[in-house]
């Protein structure tokens, strides 16, 4: 008898524990829902769900911060949900949940351009507006894409920065990701065109590939500096590459003599900007990106825009934006990080 009472008791305790958890969860969920309907005031359902690639990623924490600030300004609610790992299909159940909850809009950075498409279409037919940011899906799966930067803009800012730093003359090299990285190759092509047309005195001596691996990029940087003793600058259009190159430069005799710029994140580069190894590097501002995405979602919900070419909407402190081709909104030129502004960012 002893064993049975025990097992039943254990079962009951476990069941109660789960029940209490669910009750608590359910209550908080309900009250959250109540706030959103009460808070929006008007008839528009300004409850927005933000679905980054994964949670616990400083980049997306920053974009969510921006989106929350925007939601507070237009008096909507913004909840961040997401999977813990960025696998192609892990976002699907969160999209389904948002559709079931009757969210006004869903802001998503797609882990896969196709895998979440059906789920997004189901959400759209349930009346949810779908805005993608940072990483797009196929264009028929969403209402609007908030593009952080164009390939031309990214290529131009890096060429401009290196030209300023080396005095518009001398040998430079590029330290890229892998040899078949689509984005990087497109940027490098544009950079070559820009260098040939606008900076005839700058000579691109080599494009090296660090395969987005820290150690490989580190070694390639060393090799570049030994092969080309007259090298004046390096462009690394990948966050892994620029950090590895900066680490090599900061401990070598070339520190301060060879310029380094490219695409990086403030947290990776802070040390090297502060110690003078790197003067400036570029990226977009994820906080502004999230802020703009939230305003665009609100404009879609209110019916101010439909995602048609030429639609304009107001995005608070960022000003007015126009919807371009393929229902895309461009955030603007890439953001240049220097010693003066790097302290404002944490991602």
């Amino acid at each position: 008898m002893f064993e049975f009472t025990r097992s039943r008791r254990a079962g009951v305790i476990a069941a109660l524990a789960v029940g209490v958890t669910l009750l608590a969860a359910g209550c908080s969920g309900t009250s959250g829902g109540g706030d959103s309907t009460g808070g929006s005031g008007g008839d528009a359902n300004l409850s927005i769900t933000m679905l980054p690639k994964n949670l616990g990623n400083p980049y997306f924490d920053t974009s969510t911060k921006g989106a929350k600030a925007a939601a507070a300004e237009f008096k909507g609610t913004l909840d961040e949900v997401g999977p813990s790992e960025a696998s192609p299909t892990s976002q699907v159940s969160y999209i389904q949940t948002a559709a079931q909850q009757g969210a006004g809009a869903l802001i998503v950075s797609a882990n896969d351009p196709e895998a979440i498409c059906d789920a997004l279409n189901e959400a759209k037919s349930a009346g949810v507006k779908v805005v993608t940011f940072d990483s797009d899906t196929n264009k028929d799966c969403r209402d609007l894409f908030i593009n952080q930067a164009t390939a031309d803009g990214i290529a131009k800012v890096q060429v401009d920065e290196i030209a300023t730093q080396i005095g518009d003359a001398g040998e430079i090299a590029i330290l890229s990701a892998s040899a078949n990285a689509t984005n990087q190759n497109a940027w490098i092509e544009t950079m070559k065109t820009l260098l040939a047309s606008d900076h005839p005195n700058i000579k691109l001596v080599e494009v090296a590939y660090g395969d987005d691996d820290d150690q490989t990029s580190f070694d390639k940087t060393a090799a570049l500096l030994q092969t080309y003793p007259d090298l004046k600058g390096i462009i690394s259009p990948t966050t892994v590459g620029i950090a590895a190159a900066a680490r090599y430069l900061s401990t070598s005799e070339y520190k301060g003599k060879v310029a380094l710029t490219g695409l990086g994140t403030p947290n990776q580069m802070r040390e090297y900007v502060n110690d003078g190894t790197v003067t400036s590097f570029a990226l977009w501002n994820p906080e502004d990106l999230g802020y703009l995405a939230a305003y665009a979602a609100a404009a879609l919900i209110k019916g101010d825009i439909t995602g048609k070419d030429g639609d304009t909407f107001d995005a608070g402190k960022l000003g007015s934006f126009t919807v371009g081709k393929d229902a895309t909104v461009l955030l603007g030129d890439p953001y240049v990080f220097t010693k003066d502004n790097i302290g404002d960012f944490d991602f």
Binding site: G11, A14, T89
Partner: protein, 359 residues
């Protein structure tokens, strides 16, 4: 005279067929505890979680956990024989890539799907070969093939994805049984579940699995071909994973090398939660199905309630640990109880009738 007295004093011993009455044997089991917990979670969710009562919940939930449900069936059999198959998720990925490549290469879809299932079967045969013929431990073998099959899958497609599949088939994968919110994938699942349940619980083959799990030397000495049995199980596991891969591909219209990464752990977690002992020899299919559903329902309900994925993982993890701990705790209590009964019986044997009456 003395002989007659002894025959009347000591009646022939009788043994009960079961130590416990039937209702206890059916209701007071770990499987029933999981089913009760599942019912409780559903009832509580219906009562307090907004939007949980919509028919969409059933559709989305069953659709998303269908691959786990499918793979959990053969996995249960494998774990009951004290083996494990960690390569299932990689086989799903490989089968998904094969489906994509062949469809892309112009094969008619049914043929491509069949070929993908055969690839799953071959992957299972390879696992079975290494475990039974070569005689390596399944943990080591399937950790190896987990990497191997995933590597082949990613290698075949690289970082690209094939997303173009015949619409009839993708719609079939997402369709519901007409008039119900239940996805059509549940039909093949129920058929497979019945086959596996009969196989495990009502055939001599099924009994041999428990015998192998409890003591494989004893099983071998009683005439069971342990190697062949395990070989069959790994082949079944690969085949079902291949089928799940085809379904996964259609469900997300997406063939990629990294599809279903990490799913093997979800499957094994659900199987263990369902009352199957990782040390073999114990477990039942209804518990496993309830285990998969429990994890699925809990996740769905908590997501609808706005709980973040980290907390959901924590809750699922704690539940799993509790269930495993409770199994060992129960086993320990049972041992103590039988020891106590043994002592009592020993005392009862020497005690006088009057003493017994006073108790």
């Amino acid at each position: 005279m003395t002989a007659a007295a002894t025959t009347t004093a000591v009646p022939a011993r009788t043994y009960k067929a079961y130590g416990r009455p039937a209702w206890r044997r059916f209701l007071l089991t770990r499987e029933m505890a999981i089913i009760a917990l599942l019912v409780l979670v559903v009832v509580v969710s219906l009562a307090v979680v907004p939007h949980f009562d919509s028919p969409l919940t059933v559709t989305y939930l069953l659709r998303d956990i269908a691959p786990i449900l499918l793979i959990a069936l053969p996995m249960t059999l494998i774990i009951i024989t004290e083996e494990i198959d960690l390569s299932v998720a990689s086989i799903v990925g490989l089968s998904s890539v094969m489906t994509g490549l062949l469809t892309h290469g112009g094969w008619p879809f049914p043929l491509a799907a069949l070929a993908a299932i055969v690839v799953g079967l071959i992957a299972g045969v390879f696992n079975g070969f290494l475990v039974t013929v070569v005689g390596l431990p399944s943990l080591a073998v399937t950790i190896g093939t987990l990497a191997l099959y995933r590597g082949i899958a990613v290698g075949l497609l690289g970082t690209t994805a094939i997303t173009d599949f015949p619409q009839d088939w993708t719609e079939l994968a997402k369709a519901n049984i007409p008039g119900t919110p239940v996805p059509a994938i549940m039909i093949p699942f129920v058929i497979l579940a019945i086959i596996f349940a009969v196989l495990l619980h009502f055939t001599p083959f099924g009994r041999t699995l428990y015998a192998i799990g409890l003591n494989k030397e004893a099983a071998a000495f009683s005439g069971i071909d342990v190697g062949r049995t395990k070989f069959v199980l790994f082949t079944l596991s690969g085949t079902v994973a291949g089928f799940a891969g085809v379904y996964f591909t259609l469900l997300y219209s997406n063939a990629r090398g990294d599809n279903a990464t990490g799913m093997e752990l979800q499957v094994i977690a659900a199987v263990l939660l369902g009352g199957v002992s990782i040390f073999g020899g114990r477990g039942a299919l209804h518990g496993v199905i309830a285990g998969v559903l429990l994890i699925g329902v809990l996740g769905s309900s908590l997501r609808l309630a706005g709980i973040t994925s980290d907390i959901i993982n924590v809750i699922t993890g704690v539940l799993l640990i509790l269930s495993v701990v409770s199994a060992s705790l129960l086993a320990w209590l049972q041992k103590r109880r039988s020891a106590a009964i043994g002592r009592k019986k020993g005392q009862a044997g020497v005690s006088s009738p009057s003493e017994r009456a006073t108790r």
